[in-house]
């Protein structure tokens, strides 16, 4: 089989697709996590809890596949990144995993028994899991900018020299908080769209506060990034060479993470959307327009994710222990053939997925109210 696309183009496409999948996860599953995170704040009695949970009840499962697909896509398209990130962040990954295992169980099990303590326990676990997942994702992204302590042996075996607590550095924690604020905002805009009454009213306040917080933290992060040591490739680069991360030289240069914005000014679009999205979400929330607020919140999420991706470009996982061992999209990818096969699969199946997901959301349109969940004690979550 002749591969009709050259290696460099395929690698660029897959870097873009990876960013799209992460943004897709943040937009789709982000509101589920956000709703879970604010469950105890916006819903004060059992009916209200059920309103909030049933607003995500029929869709969280499909949304979560964005996360699983993201993992699968990294595995297939950037196996070195998959291996390095998952084994390097061993303890953090198991914490993330824990939050994802308990979520379906919480949602499905909590309403199966009427006991108040049973339900309160599952609700608390669900809420903590949502917040913890949001925090960990942000901390992980933050650590990408700082670099992780790993290197390779000469047979390309990865050795990681850090532990879990090394991840909790000030900049990474800032990113973690920004991520929590972002997903709370997104979850709140979903509740504003899908629920009514007290739950929606409280969600509206959560949205205003968290969106404001996100804007501040996002700006703070950008300012911090300007002073942080960024990474830059200093050796000649062959973007079509076989994937081997030991074939290049990398230097750490202060402010290098922002160089993309002077080099390609159009990339500024991402941070601009990252600022304007949350602000507009607030405006529409103030006017109680759930749909528009959700849309702007989603745009804001996409803007923030793309800002991170653009800033890191072309790095995927920098190493602060041995900068030249850093993984970039040019030297951590799969073979040309695999990238092409996977591209075909995505081009064929992703539109189908989007079509039927859209149909399912349309079928499920309308608000979940307290009266409605009271009527359907047996049948809803």
């Amino acid at each position: 089989m002749n591969i009709p696309l050259d290696y460099e183009t395929l690698r660029l496409i897959w870097w873009l697709l990876l960013t799209v999948l992460i943004a897709g996860f943040a937009v789709m599953d982000g509101f589920d996590l956000g709703v879970a995170g604010q469950l105890l704040i916006v819903a004060r009695n059992d009916d209200q809890r059920r309103v909030a949970i049933n607003s995500i009840g029929p869709v969280w499962d499909g949304n979560q596949v964005w996360f699983i697909l993201g993992g699968g896509a990294v595995f297939a398209a950037f196996p070195l990144l998959y291996a390095a990130a998952f084994s390097g962040l061993y303890a953090a990954m198991f914490l993330v995993l824990l939050t994802f295992i308990v979520r379906p169980v919480c949602i499905d099990f909590r309403s199966k028994l009427a006991d108040a303590r049973w339900r309160a326990t599952w609700d608390s676990i669900l809420s903590i899991a949502g917040l913890l997942a949001a925090l960990l994702f942000g901390v992980a992204i933050g650590n990408l900018f700082l670099g992780l302590p790993f290197h390779f042996t000469d047979e390309l075996r990865l050795v990681y020299a850090g532990g879990f607590f090394g991840l909790l550095q000030p900049f990474a924690l800032l990113c973690g908080l920004a991520s929590v604020a972002m997903l709370l905002m997104h979850g709140a805009s979903w509740l504003l769209l899908k629920t009514a009454g007290e739950v929606a009213e409280r969600a509206r306040w959560v949205l205003l506060v968290s969106a404001g917080l996100l804007v501040v933290l996002f700006a703070l992060g950008g300012a911090w990034l300007a002073h942080l040591d960024g990474y830059t490739i200093t050796s000649a680069l062959n973007p079509s060479a076989p994937s081997n991360p030991l074939a290049k030289q990398v230097a750490r240069v202060p402010g290098a993470w922002l160089s993309v914005y002077t080099l390609h000014p159009w990339t500024l679009l991402a941070p601009i959307v990252g600022f304007i999205g949350p602000l507009l979400a607030c405006v529409w929330a103030w006017r109680r327009r759930g749909g528009l607020s959700f849309l702007c919140s989603a745009l804001g999420v996409i803007g923030v994710i793309f800002t991170a991706a653009f800033s890191l470009f072309p790095f995927l996982l920098p190493s602060d222990l041995d900068p030249s061992a850093s993984l970039t999209l040019w030297d951590a990818s799969s073979s040309q053939r695999t990238l092409f096969i996977m591209l075909v699969a995505v081009v064929v199946f992703l539109p189908i997925v989007l079509l039927y997901t859209g149909w399912v959301f349309r079928v499920l349109r309308g608000k979940v109210t307290e009266a409605y969940v009271r009527e359907h004690k047996q049948s809803l979550y």
């Binding site: 699968g72 196996p79 070195l80 998952f86 995993l97 075996r157 053939r337 996977m342 409605y372 809803l380």
Partner: protein, 523 residues
């Protein structure tokens, strides 16, 4: 403190979490089809009892499905966390079916499962039936891609070693997808899932019949389970035979170990029904043999020998010596990538490179390996014979038992003679755990039989692990044990509670208040 072995702990963790995950998967596979069948009858006959059946079994399906999803994420994570070198060494091939599984199958079942529960009054009858079938299709397609990935670990076709990237890369994706081992595994595994689903429904229906509760409901469920189960139990045995035949072409050592065939015997080989394999003296004591049968199953001929364990160890010995040539060339290429002689040498011996790595997993440098090291490494290619021998026999025995059980259940159901066969109903109710035992043993035969390889002939398990500390793995393993045990208790409690309460707890036809609930909205 003694040194903790991270590889051993990672293997224990992967094995336990996979077996745990596989408690939920087969039931999802089987029950989703049974739900689709029941709802099809509802749409065709328009009788509400069939809808109530779909919804009651659907509730149990939901509890199980949540656990399947939750424990499945663990599997995807662990390739990266605990088997990082494996992931980078074969991600170019192995990642593809996993990613396509997400795109093509997992999205389908997960998106529509929400509508299955919440779409009853938002969709027309036909639409809802379509959704149910899509859930069943999605979960079965999911199994297909996972088993394509697993089939490649057993029979790594369509790939080659690239010395520039030091990993395996795809040469032919169609060879990976149409891998005969993967296809045989797929049909065998989903049929096993259908058996699990059928026994589940049969056992709980029998329980209701014995208690004289929900009779109309139970008799119909019993009938569906009996007929679907009979077809599934027959195909699981037939297709399992196909799976065994494929294994005999490729994983000769696995077949020899399953049969505890120490020496190659004159064809056609006999099948050992019973015996006690003794790994030390390399004999099978108290063996009860059926002449010809193994030769027929494994080679489908009367004159092809089934190679024995000791002969295969000799073959491995030769392959290790050959693989050392490839390994030597690779070391040269690492520093002199342009060395043409080294490239030619690698090319000539690359098929046995994995065998040289067996020395590495024993801590021996292949370049300085002694004869004794090589002989030891060759002996390490024998998987645990006793475990495989017995797991296989219990699995097959249960497989035949299910055929008898479903055949009789079919008879009872057709004659509507439930009252006369209460003893059988007791038997059916108590057989509930059996298909799970068979399914787990099947997994053990497939995966333990692959050892010491993580990818047959390519990468030893020992080398596939991450460079994480034993303490870290012990921590996550203990976490899993505690967490999964808690979940298991809660899951079984809820399952039993809902099964025991029966369909009446659930707004089914009959009383007017319950009618109202249905016409509102409900799963």
């Amino acid at each position: 403190m003694t040194e903790l072995d991270p590889v051993l702990l990672s293997r224990i963790q992967f094995g336990l979490t996979a077996l745990y995950h596989f408690l939920f998967v087969p039931l999802t596979l089987g029950l989703s089809f049974i739900l689709a069948i029941m709802e099809s009858v509802y749409v065709m006959t328009n009788r509400p009892i069939w809808r109530d059946m779909t919804r009651f079994w659907g509730k149990l399906f939901g509890i199980n499905f949540a656990m399947g999803v939750a424990t499945g994420i663990t599997m995807e994570f662990q390739f990266g966390t605990n088997w990082a070198y494996y992931s980078q060494y074969v991600g170019d091939i192995f990642g593809v079916p996993l990613a396509i599984e997400g795109l093509m199958a997992f999205f389908l079942e997960s998106t529509f499962v929400g509508l299955f529960f919440f779409g009853w009054n938002r969709l027309s009858k036909g639409q809802h039936l379509g959704v149910t079938w899509l859930v069943a299709l999605g979960s079965n397609l999911s199994a297909l891609w996972i088993l394509i990935a697993n089939g490649w670990m057993q029979n790594p076709v369509g790939a080659h070693f690239n010395y520039q990237t030091l990993r395996m890369e795809v040469t032919s994706i169609s060879a990976v997808i149409f891998n005969p081992v993967a296809q045989a595994k797929f049909v065998h595994t989903v049929s096993a899932g259908y058996v699990v689903g059928s026994v589940f429904v049969l056992a709980i229906s029998s329980y209701y019949l014995l208690r004289n509760r929900h009779l109309a409901f139970a008799k119909r469920s019993f009938a569906v389970a009996a007929s679907f189960g009979l077809a599934a139990a027959l195909s699981v045995v037939v297709l399992g035979d196909e799976s065994g035949y494929e294994a005999s072409l490729n994983q000769k050592m696995k077949v020899a170990a399953i049969e505890a065939e120490w020496q190659t015997t004159a064809p056609p080989a006999s099948f050992t029904v019973f015996g006690i394999p003794d790994a030390k003296d390399q004999v099978t004591r108290y063996a009860l043999r059926i002449p010809w049968l193994l030769g027929l199953i494994a080679t489908r001929s009367l004159d092809t020998p089934v190679p024995g364990i000791n002969n295969l160890v000799q073959v491995a010995d030769g392959r290790i010596r050959d693989g050392i040539q490839a390994y030597r060339a690779l070391i040269i290429l690492r520093t002199h990538p342009e060395d043409a002689a080294a490239r030619t040498q690698l090319q000539a011996h690359v098929d046995n490179l994995g065998y040289a790595l067996l020395l590495r997993s024993a801590g021996v440098d292949p370049l300085t390996a002694s004869d004794k090291d090589i002989q030891q490494a060759a002996r390490s290619t024998v998987p645990p014979v006793g475990l495989l021998f017995w797991s296989f026999r219990v699995m097959v025995g249960l497989g035949f038992l299910f055929i008898l059980m479903f055949a009789f259940a079919f008879y009872v159901s057709a004659r509507q003679s439930f009252e006369r066969h209460r003893k059988f109903l007791v038997l059916a109710a108590f057989s509930l755990p059996l298909p799970w035992i068979a399914a787990e043993l099947g997994w053990i035969v497939a995966e333990v039989g692959r050892q010491p390889w993580v990818i047959d002939g390519v990468l030893p398990t020992q080398l596939g692990a991450s460079s994480v500390s034993g303490g870290q793995v012990l921590g996550s393993l203990i976490g899993f044990l505690l967490f999964y045990s808690t979940l298991a208790v809660v899951d079984i409690y809820l399952m039993l509670r809902y099964a025991r309460l029966g369909p009446d707890t659930y707004p089914a036809g009959g009383k007017s208040t319950q009618r109202a609930a249905i016409t509102g909205d409900s799963p």
